[in-house]
């Protein structure tokens, strides 16, 4: 079939320009919906990464009193060794804790100056066998009451909060995005229908002189695909912004909680591809429906 490229490109271009307001509305809706999808996916990726960072390392920290006796320390160590819920643990003494402290507050020497190793708590960094909430809280109650223990910190509390917030955000974002995807498809459908109405006389003549069905359909389908594509390109821009924002937060020392809250290149590429494909799909489906329903060839 001889589908002339220059003809198709010209027709598609004219259609897009002729119906600018509706075309713009379609593109904008595609852009907003896919921006939400992209943002939600990137935040999820960041949360997964942050969680993985915690889960790969220490899940559970038992801080001892700085003045805990060696007997007390040994007792805690034995209890950890005996506990079936503990997979492994390591002891961080006051010197090492001081090192960490210095690293953490490297840019605030006046804070570091006020601290000496002997006031810092030594700790056991513990990897539990399971990350289930009840296992963690069981361990916590066991060691909190142990003599010489100052505090037990379970990383899951903060991580859970982040995960909960993120899953709430994702659910809202995906819900709104789903509604907007439907709206975007309908808008594409309508703008294609308008374009067909504007060209109804041309279409009539084309049918009369025997233009093949695909020759008549393709410019309209192409128009829908271009709308979807333009929308997804805008959404891609938003995704870049979201990624930059996340890494900004991750590197900001005021939010140490969010360290590791970044999206790696692979995840970002995947999200980008998904945005593009979805945009093209929205355009193609909307225009395909318009063409099959309203273009009686």
């Amino acid at each position: 079939m001889a589908l002339k490229l220059d003809y198709m490109v010209r027709e598609t271009g004219t259609n897009l320009v002729r119906n600018f307001s509706l075309t713009f509305a379609s593109i904008l809706t595609v852009a907003v919906s896919l921006s939400l999808v992209g943002a939600a996916l990137l935040v999820r990726g960041a949360v997964d990464n942050a969680t993985a960072r915690w889960e790969g390392g220490i899940e559970f920290i038992v801080f001892l009193q700085p003045e805990a006796s060696d007997d007390q320390t040994d007792a805690v160590e034995r209890a950890l060794g005996d506990s079936p819920q503990v997979e492994g643990f390591s002891y961080v003494d006051q010197e090492e804790t001081f090192q960490e402290f210095q690293d953490l507050f490297a840019d605030s020497p006046q804070i570091v100056d006020t601290v000496s190793p002997d006031i810092l708590p030594p700790s056991f960094r513990v990897v539990p066998t399971s990350k289930e909430a009840d296992v963690i809280s069981g361990l916590r109650t066991q060691f909190e009451t142990q003599p010489g223990v100052r505090e037990v910190v379970a990383a899951t509390d903060t991580i859970r909060t982040i995960q909960n917030l993120s899953s709430l955000f994702q659910r809202i974002a995906f819900g709104v995005a789903a509604a907007l995807v439907v709206a975007a498809s309908l808008l594409v459908l309508n703008s294609i229908r308008m374009a067909m109405f504007a060209r109804r006389r041309e279409i009539e003549v084309m049918k009369l002189v025997g233009a093949s069905n695909w020759f008549i359909r393709v410019p309209f389908m192409l128009e829908g695909v271009v709308q979807g594509l333009l929308g997804s390109v805008v959404a891609l821009g938003t995704a870049f912004g979201v990624r930059a924002g996340l890494s900004q937060i991750a590197t900001d020392r005021r939010f140490t909680l969010f360290a590791g809250f970044t999206v790696d290149a692979g995840q970002f590429r995947l999200t980008g591809v998904l945005i593009l494909v979805t945009g093209i799909l929205i355009g193609a489906l909307g225009s395909a429906f318009a063409v099959s329903r309203f273009l009686d060839v």
Partner: protein, 226 residues
């Protein structure tokens, strides 16, 4: 060239019969007038031949092929062999005379060099070689109809269907259009024309098929209007 075999076409779920058990056989190169009052089924006849409509019963053959058996994607190829002319011209107002005719070749994928040679030639044939760059609204009715005939004939179809082509034209202009259709007919193209124009039918003395409420009531060689 065109054969209708016991064709029945109804509208409104059988209430209004547009064509009832029509049997017609039109040979290659014939010139046929379809006459009869409005609503007698003349336009339906034409719309059935290029498969804009399908009948409830019967078969329709064009150039020996049963067109009701055609896949819908093949219908455009049927229509490339059938030129159509209408009372209201159906020209594209935003295109020039040249572009209107070229459009018909362009959308069926003819190469540019073919378009460049065919379009001026056909416009010469219909006597509009001096108006290539005019827009339809700058032309008289007769000139517009010539453009429409040129568009219908530029692809050298086997059949030309004309639905009241002189319906909007004054008698003198109509004669000019009829000369043109006659000339096209002499190249071997089968012409089927619906008309209410008594003087044209009586002057040309060609085959006349008269329809009345969907039935063929007369089929006469070298016939007259009544």
């Amino acid at each position: 060239m065109i054969k209708l075999d016991n064709v029945t076409k109804t509208y409104n779920k059988g209430d209004a019969a547009a064509l009832r058990g029509a049997n017609v056989d039109i040979a290659k190169g014939e010139f046929v007038f379809l006459v009869g009052p409005s609503g007698s089924g003349k336009s339906t006849f034409l719309r059935l031949v290029n498969r804009e409509e399908s009948p409830e019963e019967g078969s329709i053959f064009v150039a020996g092929k049963d067109i009701l058996e055609l896949n819908s994607w093949k219908v455009p190829y049927l229509r490339r062999n059938i030129g159509s002319v209408f009372q209201d011209f159906k020209l594209l107002s935003n295109k020039t005379v040249y572009e209107n005719v070229a459009f018909a070749l362009e959308v069926i994928g003819r190469p540019k060099h073919v378009i460049k040679s065919q379009v001026p030639a056909i416009l010469e044939l219909v006597g509009l070689s001096k108006k290539l760059g005019s827009f339809p609204h700058e032309l008289s009715g007769g000139e517009q109809q010539r453009v429409s005939v040129a568009r219908a004939f530029v692809n050298r179809p086997l059949i030309l269907l004309a639905d009241e082509p002189t319906g909007n034209l004054d008698p003198a202009t109509s004669v000019g259009i009829m000369r043109l259709l006659d000339r096209i007919n002499r190249t071997g193209t089968t012409v089927v024309m619906c008309t209410h124009d008594r003087s044209i039918v009586d002057t040309m003395r060609r085959r006349v098929i008269e329809l009345d409420r969907g039935a063929i009531v007369r089929d006469q060689h070298r016939g007259v209007y009544e």
